[in-house]
């Protein structure tokens, strides 16, 4: 009959080996995950840089260069006002053109009906 210690020693050794191998697996997994996340961080940094360059390529926007919420509404109002002005100017041009045409037609008719000797 073998001695109990001669059985315990290999058992304990096996346990230590199992624990070691399991522990190494957890650590490796964690390191691998961390590495993946770091590469994601690198990708994100590259994307931020690309976006910064894209934003810079828009150029200097003057007083609107620093983004502020009120600028957007201010510009929207300005555009709406310009569009209204444009419509008014087009209507005015149309009216003036019609007025001129009427006057020229009437002048022509008058000169035809009452030709002057001079």
């Amino acid at each position: 009959m073998p001695r109990p210690l001669s059985v315990l020693i290999p058992l304990f050794g096996s346990l230590v080996l199992v624990l070691c191998s399991t522990g190494c697996g957890v650590k490796g997994k964690l390191e691998e995950e961390t590495q993946q996340l770091r590469s994601v961080v690198m990708e994100k940094k590259m994307e931020v840089k690309r976006l910064e360059m894209e934003s810079a390529s828009v150029g200097n926007l003057g007083r609107y260069d620093i983004p502020r919420v009120e600028y957007l509404s201010e510009l929207k109002d300005r555009l709406a006002s310009l569009k209204r002005d444009g419509a008014r100017l087009v209507a005015e041009r149309e009216t003036k053109a019609q007025s001129l045409k009427r006057m020229e037609d009437e002048l022509s008719a008058y000169q035809t009906k009452f030709p002057s000797n001079n």
Binding site: L5, L8, I9, F12, V16, C20, G23, C24, V26, K27, L30, E31, T34, L37, R38, V40, V41, K44, E47, V48, L51, E52, S55, V58, G59, L61, G62, Y64, P67, L72, L75, K76, R78, L79, L82, K83, D85, G86, L89, E92, R93, K96, A97, S99, L100, R102, M103, E104, D105, E106, L107, A109, Y110, Q111, T112, K113, F114, S116, N117, N118
Partner: protein, 253 residues
């Protein structure tokens, strides 16, 4: 032998404990590194989102600024076109006024077989002698009369454009009675006609009338193109009285 075995076991236990501590520490560090990496990923995702918003915002602002610039430029072009149309209208109005003035000048001396007036009278064998802002002097079969312009027949009113209220209506004459305020009023608004305000000629006339003994301006004879009985015609001023009642001296030509 037993002691050696126990010692060996104790050594192994010690090694196991040390390894366990070391291993736990390494896993803790790896976990911390992982957490840090996760936090960094979160931050970078936020940074990307912010930068995307900023870029989109700037692009929108740039597009709106460009649109505003284009609209402003277009407005400038339209305003220039409007100015051009206004100038053309002013030129057309001036031309109209000159045409009417010429026709009015040429109307003096016009002979008509009869002139039915709005007041019911019908003048026979009429010759128009003079024309001013409110009335017309005509010589007819029964003598000389002054006729208010508003009493003139429509065709003559249309010809003289009295008050510039009558429109030729497409030159066919069918609309002679039609009062149209479009073009005529436009010209009147522009202050082109002398009816709107007395000019220098009228002022001169008034002045002469208030001082009948004046000798007038002999230099006016240089501008006279036609003469009639006690009247002389000066282009642009019409028929003026000659002698003490008018601005042209009786002697001189």
């Amino acid at each position: 032998m037993g002691k050696i075995v126990v010692f060996g076991i104790l050594c192994m236990v010690l090694i196991g404990i040390m390894y366990g501590v070391h291993h736990t520490t390494a896993i803790d560090e790896a976990t911390r590194a992982l957490e840090e990496a996760k936090r960094e990923v979160g931050l970078m995702e936020g940074a990307v989102k912010y930068q995307q918003n900023v870029t989109a915002w700037r692009k929108e602002l740039a597009a709106m600024i460009a649109a505003a610039d284009i609209l402003t430029r277009d407005h400038g072009v339209i305003r220039a076109e409007i100015r051009g149309l206004e100038q053309a209208e002013t030129r057309a109005a001036d031309s109209f006024v000159r045409s009417v003035e010429k026709v009015r000048e040429e109307t003096v001396g016009l002979v008509m077989d009869e002139m039915p007036l709005k007041n019911g009278l019908v003048l026979k064998r009429v010759r128009i002698q003079n024309l001013d802002r409110t009335e017309m002097s005509v010589m007819h079969s029964e003598g000389i009369s002054k006729v208010l312009l508003e009493d003139l027949p429509d065709n003559l009113k249309e010809r003289l454009r009295i008050g510039m209220n009558f429109v030729a209506s497409g030159s066919n004459g069918s609309g002679a009675n039609r009062v149209d305020s479009s073009v005529s009023d436009r010209i009147a608004e522009m202050g082109r006609f002398r009816e709107e305000a007395p000019d220098k000629k009228d002022e001169k006339k008034v002045k002469v009338k208030s001082n009948p003994k004046t000798d007038g301006d002999p230099a006016l004879w240089n501008s006279v193109t036609r003469k009639s009985l006690n009247r002389a015609f000066i282009p642009g001023q019409g028929w003026l009285e000659v002698g003490t009642l008018g601005p042209i001296p009786g002697s001189g030509k």
